[in-house]
Subunit: 322 residues, 2 copies
Amino acid sequence: MSLIDLSKQVALGVDIGGTNTKFGIVNHRGEVLDKGNLKTDAYDKVEDFIDALYDHVFPLMEKHGAEKHFDGIGVGAPNANYYKGTIELAPNLPWKGVIPFAELMTAKFNLPCTVTNDANAAALGEMLFGAARGMKDFIMITLGTGVGSGIIANGNLIYGHDGFAGELGHTIVKPGGRKHWSTGSEGSLEAYASATGITITAKKMRAEFPESMLNQYPEDEINSKTVYECAIKEDPIAIEVFRYTGQKLGEALANFVMFSSPEAILLFGGVIKAGDFILKPAKLHMERNLLPIFRNKVKLVFSELDEADAAILGASALVWEK
Amino acid sequence: MSLIDLSKQVALGVDIGGTNTKFGIVNHRGEVLDKGNLKTDAYDKVEDFIDALYDHVFPLMEKHGAEKHFDGIGVGAPNANYYKGTIELAPNLPWKGVIPFAELMTAKFNLPCTVTNDANAAALGEMLFGAARGMKDFIMITLGTGVGSGIIANGNLIYGHDGFAGELGHTIVKPGGRKHWSTGSEGSLEAYASATGITITAKKMRAEFPESMLNQYPEDEINSKTVYECAIKEDPIAIEVFRYTGQKLGEALANFVMFSSPEAILLFGGVIKAGDFILKPAKLHMERNLLPIFRNKVKLVFSELDEADAAILGASALVWEK
C-alpha cells in the first residue's frame, strides 16, 4: 500500500434517478474533478444506456487518465442490490426485471463496479465527506419524491441478509392510514413525508379551509414548494401541512432510534427546504415518543453536502468503502 | 492460540431478572456443566447481591476449577450497557441509579466481566447454540412480562452509539393507542404483545362478551396461560385475544424487517406457548405490511433453546463473542 499515491486515485461516481443520471470523477478528498449528466429515461434498453454513459464519460477519463488512476465505479440507483450487483424491479426506471448492472458496467468500462441503493450511497457520502464524518452510528433519511434511507451501524451500512435493508420510507407510521399510490400499503412514512405526500396533505387541507392562501394556486401547482411559499407568508394552513408532515416524520424517527440508537439522524432532499416548519415538529414528536434513556441525545440535522454533488460523492464512496 | 485446549475453557453465565437470577458454568459447546439460582429481589444493595452470588458460585468454581479454565463472566440484565459495563435505571431491579456492575463483579471474582441487556444475550445464545446458528442477520424478540429484542446485523449485535439499541418493545405500533403502565407511552408493542398486554386485552374482551369462557375465572387469574386454556377449548373470544395480539406483533415485525432485512425473526419467552394462535396471525400481518421485495423470505420461528438454560447460555456467549 505504501507505494500507492492516494492523490492520484480517483473513482467514477454515478447516480441513477428515474429521469436523470449524474456522474462525476471524485478523489479521496471528496472533490468532484469533473462531472456531467444524461437522461435516464431516454434509453429503453439498459445496454444502450450504458453505451451512452460510456460515451459521455470516456472523454473525461481520457482527460484525467494521464495523471490519475481510476480505482473503480460506484453506482447509486433505486432498488440496487449491493451483494448481487443488480438493479431489481425498480418501478421508476425504464429497465424491467433483474438487471446485472455491475457486470454490464465492468464489461463496458473494464473497471470494478459496485452498486447500492441511492439512499445508502448518500449515507456513505455523508460519513466520508459530510455531516456524519467521524460517526459510526447514524441514519440518513432522504425526503424527495419518495422517502429513502441508509442505516450505518458500527461504521458499516446495514445491508441485511439479502441486500435490501433500509426501506424505512415503507414502514407503517399509521396503521390503516393513507393508501400509498404505488405500493398500495396503508399509512407508510412515504405516504406522508415525501414531496408527493405533502402535496396530498396540502390538497386535502386547502379543500377543508377555503380561506387558505393555498387556494390561490391551480391544482397542479400545489406542491411542497408552493406550500413553503404560503408558509413563509404565515398562512396557518400551509404551516399546518408541514407541522402534520413533521409529526408523522418524528413519530417514525422515534421508532428508528429505538431500533439502532444512532448518534444522529441526517435529513436530505428537496423536502428539507421547508426547514424549521418540518424540523421543529419532527423533533418534538420524536422526543415525545422515545423512552427516557434515548431522549435529548439524538442529533436531528440536515445534510451538509451540496445537493447537486451529494449523490455523486456518495456513489464514489462505494469504491473505497469496499 | 494453538496451545489453548478449548475443551477446558468455561465461562460463567449470569441472567439477572427482576425476581430471580440464574447462573451456570458453560463450555464452548453450549453445555451447561452446573447451574444454580438466587433471589434478585432479596438484596437491596448490589454489593450484597454480588457477595451472595459469589457464595453460590464459588463451590461450583472450585469443583470445576481443577480441570477447567474460567475465561470470564457474561451477564444479561435489564438496561445493561455493553460499552460501559453498567446497569442503568432498571425499573424492575432493586438497585437504583447507574450501577458499575461489571467493575464490581471483576473486583469480587477476579475475572473479566461483560454485560449486555437480557434480550441481546438471548440473541447471542441463539446465534452460537440455537435456531440462528450460521445466520448473520436476524432479530430476536423476547415475549415475556415485557417485550425485549436483540438485533444481529452482519454477524454482530447492534449496540448503537450509546449501547442501548434494540428497544423494539417500546416502538409504537398504534399511535395514540393503549397507554403503557410503566413508560406512559401510547400504543407501544409491549403494551399489546407482552404477557401483561395480553392480560389487559383479555380482560377488556371478556367484559364485552359475557358468553366467553374467560368469564369463568376470577379477575386475578386472567393471564396468557388461562387465555390459552380457553383457546384450546375453542373459546372464540380467547382465540380472538391471541389473534389481535398476533396482528399487532405482525405489524411491528413488518417494520423491523424493512429496517434490517433479517433472514429470520426468532420468538422467545413465555408468550410463545400460545403457539399458532399467535404465530399464524403474526405471520399474516407481517407479510401483508411488507413491500413485495421482502415477502415470503423471512423465517418466523420459535427459539430452539431450552428456556431454563437459554438465558445462561446467552450470557456466557458474551464472554467468547468479545
